[in-house]
Every structure is written in C-alpha cells, then in structure tokens.
C-alpha cells in the first residue's frame, strides 16, 4: 500500500471538493433567499395554478408544488402541512404533490452540484421534470386514486396528516 501516494491524492482532493461545493452552494442559497423575499414564487404559482387541472389538482396546489420543486422537500412539506391544515388541499392533492416532489425537488441546488462534477445540466434537469410530469399524470388518472380519494373523504375536508390518522407534526 502506497500511503504517501494515498495521502497526497486524498487530502488535497477532499479539500478541493469541499471548496468547490462551497463556491456553488453559497451563491445558490443567496439567490434562493432573494427569490423568497421578493415573493417570486407566489407570482409564478399564481400563473401556474390554471395548469394544475392537468394533474387533476386544485389550483391551490401550485404554491406548495413550486416551493418543493425549487427549495426542496423539507420546505415543500412545511407549506403542504400548513395548506392541508387550512383544509384547502384534498388528500388527493397531497398525495399527487408528494409523488411529483419525490421525483423532482430542490432542482436549483441539486442541478448546480452535479453540474460542478461534470454532468450535463440540461439533461439532468429536464430528465427529472419530464419523469415527474409523466408519473404524476399517469397516477392522477388511475381508478385506484379516485377510489382512495372518495374513501378518504370529500376534497377540501381532509385533516392535516392526509387522512391517514397520523397526528404528528
């Protein structure tokens, strides 16, 4: 085992990696903070809401969906839980937003990080968005979803935990 070779490769490599990530993550986070304070997402969500019908979603689904896509699942779930508590989203809305976001979330940060190590940004971003749209559309059309939605109550009258009886958070 060539320890000297190992150390002279591993240590500078690891350090360089962290510096590169910092150079990407810090500007990305600043841009996201600016977008949040300028309420850019509210503006886009308003324009997106008529399109929600494509996924059989209610117009109010646009905002939590957009927050999750841009900022990540943690933020998206926060907004989702709030909206669900206020009764503006049905179980079906919550389920479909979850499906979409599980495939496609935090796109700004993730795409930037993988571009830094050499991936094609356009392919990885579009690949994710297309996969999410396709899957959410297909699931939104299943008979299973209609049945579950009826079983779990009328749209707009579902509790915060998505009707699962889960009383956490």
């Amino acid at each position: 085992m060539d320890w000297l070779g190992y150390l002279s490769e591993a240590l500078p490599g690891a350090g360089q990696n962290v510096l590169m990530m910092a150079a990407i993550v810090i500007p990305v986070m600043i841009v996201l903070e600016v977008a949040r304070d300028l309420k850019i997402l509210d503006w886009i969500a308003q324009r997106m809401s008529p399109l929600m019908g494509f996924f059989h979603l209610s117009p109010q689904a646009a905002f939590p969906l957009l927050v999750g896509i841009i900022f990540g699942i943690a933020y998206g779930a926060g907004v989702l839980i709030e909206e669900a508590r206020s009764g503006r989203l049905s179980w079906k809305d919550i389920f479909l937003i979850n499906v979409f976001l599980s495939v496609c979330h935090a796109v700004v940060e993730d795409t930037a990080l993988f571009m830094a190590v050499g991936a094609n940004g356009l392919v990885i971003l579009l690949g994710r968005i297309i996969a999410a749209i396709l899957i959410t559309y297909l699931i939104s059309r299943t008979a299973w979803l209609q049945r579950e939605n009826l079983r779990r109550g009328v749209p707009g009258a579902v509790n915060a935990a998505g009707g699962s009886g889960n009383k956490c958070c």
Binding site: M1, A10, G13, A14, E33
Partner: protein, 139 residues
Amino acid sequence: MLTVATFKKGFQRGLTTTWNLAKVIVPVYLIVTFLKYTPVMGIVAGFFEPLMHFFGLPGEASLVLVLGKLLNIYAALGAISTLELTGREITIIATMLLLSHSLPVESAVSGRTGVNAMLMTGFRLVISVISGLVLNLVL
C-alpha cells in the same frame, strides 16, 4: 422586502449546507480513494460490471449509486469526484441518483404525509433504473 438580512441569511444557509456537505464528502472521499489503493475496488467493480453495462456505466459506478441511494447525494458527489468518469457517464449517474436518493430518509418523510413509504421507494427505484436504460440509449 429585499434587505441586507436577505443576503446574510442566504450566505449563512450556504455555509450551513457546505458544512453538512463537508461532513459527508470528506469521509466518503477519503474512504473511496483508499479503496482505489486496495484490491477491494477492483473486486466490487468487476462484480457489478455486467449490471452497470446496461446503463453504460463502468463497474466502479455501482459504488456511487449505492452511496447515493442509501446515504445521500452528497456522499455520491464525494465518490463521483474520486473516480475518473466521462461527462456522459456522470450525466447518466446524476439522473439516476436525482430521481431516487437518500431512500431511507426521504421515504420516511413522505410516509409522514400519509403516503405508503415502501410503495414510494419501489416506485422511485424503478423510475431510476428506467431512466438509466433510456439515457444509455439516447445519449
């Protein structure tokens, strides 16, 4: 409203993320580089070579996929930069990972919003495999 505090908050959030990233990337980088100096990497790579071939990836890439699926994207990033991969290979791995990663943690999160966690995990793994096969044909 846009103020200095906005930029400060963004900068701080960036630092926190970088720190969280470093805590994962540094150990992964050190361990994967270590494996490259031992026969282990060759054995693992040889074992997964036939499977990875379907995605147009070398055998070592299996390590990146496993790290990403089980741990998180940061661990996968640490491993990617240790290996010598082409842009095409990195794009394929990145897509496969972005569609499904940190499965234990993220499934638990979606489970909390009332969605079946096992179903979601299986479903994301399938999409990830399909995307790898498709990109290998298209790119």
